[in-house]
């Protein structure tokens, strides 16, 4: 990030390459529309670039990145609630000249597997989508060693104990909703 601050575009490209997937995962699970999520993820990185001159070494980059991502998602959710019929493309009109997104699905399952996992994934995604935004973000950021509870608390703008409580409550809800799948052990099949 220091290199980006000094105007190194190559360093910025490396940052985008490294963090595009986690940012997309988070944005998509907050705004479940692939195209809009991708537009928003691009704006996240654009914001990062714009604010690079304010970057301080003491700040953790990923915390700032996810804070920007979360704030943009919340703004978009608020915007949608005010203008339900307006598409994100209209707001970010200068992206019109961009080529259509080229997504590549790398997952390959045999038909029975794909049916089973497809259903399971859909159920998990559905259960996650029904969680309150803070609980969902906390749970998603919690998986993986990238973020400490302190980092998650900073992104969510709450205390560490409140963060743990959010995760606990969210997980309890997920366990209730996914009970049949946890009990049958369907998850073991993958």
């Amino acid at each position: 990030m220091l290199r980006v601050k000094q105007g190194d575009c190559g360093a910025f490209e490396e940052l985008v390459e490294k963090y595009k997937q986690p940012v997309m995962n988070m944005v998509y699970r907050t705004l479940p529309d692939a195209t809009e999520a991708e537009d928003l993820a691009q704006h996240v990185f654009l914001q990062v670039f714009k604010s690079a001159h304010r970057y301080e070494v003491s700040a953790k980059f990923t915390t700032g990145l996810f804070t920007i991502a979360r704030n943009l998602c919340l703004n978009e959710i608020r915007r949608r609630s005010r203008h339900p019929a307006q598409s994100l493309d209209e707001t970010f009109a200068d992206d019109d000249e961009q080529p259509i997104r080229q997504a590549e699905d790398l997952r390959t399952f045999s038909p029975p597997d794909s049916l089973l996992h497809g259903e399971l994934e859909a159920k998990v995604e559905e259960a996650l989508a029904e969680l309150p935004e803070k609980q969902r973000t906390a749970i998603l950021m919690c998986r993986g060693d990238e973020f400490s509870y302190e980092d998650i608390a900073e992104v969510l703008d709450c205390s560490v104990s409140a963060t743990k409580s959010l995760i606990h409550r969210g997980r309890e809800t997920l366990k209730q909703k996914l009970k049949p799948y946890l009990k049958t052990g369907a998850w073991k099949e993958k």
Partner: protein
Amino acid sequence: MNESEYQALIEASWRRSLTDDEQARLDAWLRTHPEAHNEWESESALNRLLDQLPDVPVASNFTARVLRAVERESAVVARNESVFDRVKQWFSRPAPRVAWALLIAGLLGFGYHQHQTNVRGEMAKGLSVLANVAALSDPAVLQDFEAIRRLAQSAPGDDEELYALLQK
């Protein structure tokens, strides 16, 4: 291991796989606390389920699009900066500086003149009120003013009543 250590292990499992040592301690705890077995089973099952969530597909040209957006943004910033620089250069020449100074001085002078005009107008109004007061007749004339004013307020029936009384 105690209850709080067990809870700490559960919380650790939310974020990552337990180490061999942690797993051994957890197994030992579960052997002595079979009631916790179900809780741990559901926790670890949910962990696996969340781990298996697939990554959202990202467009192969995502990075290129971000970089293009950044280039566009940089171009806009550079354009704005160049406009700002030109304005700054223009202001650094003596003639525009003198023109601006004259304009500002003119505006200040006009503002001061307007202010003085307003103040004089207010003073003239005050003087005219005083002149009206001076033109009033002797205050003794107003001695019965209140009684006369009340007469005007009396009802028409009162006069007829008084007239009838006077005729008797």
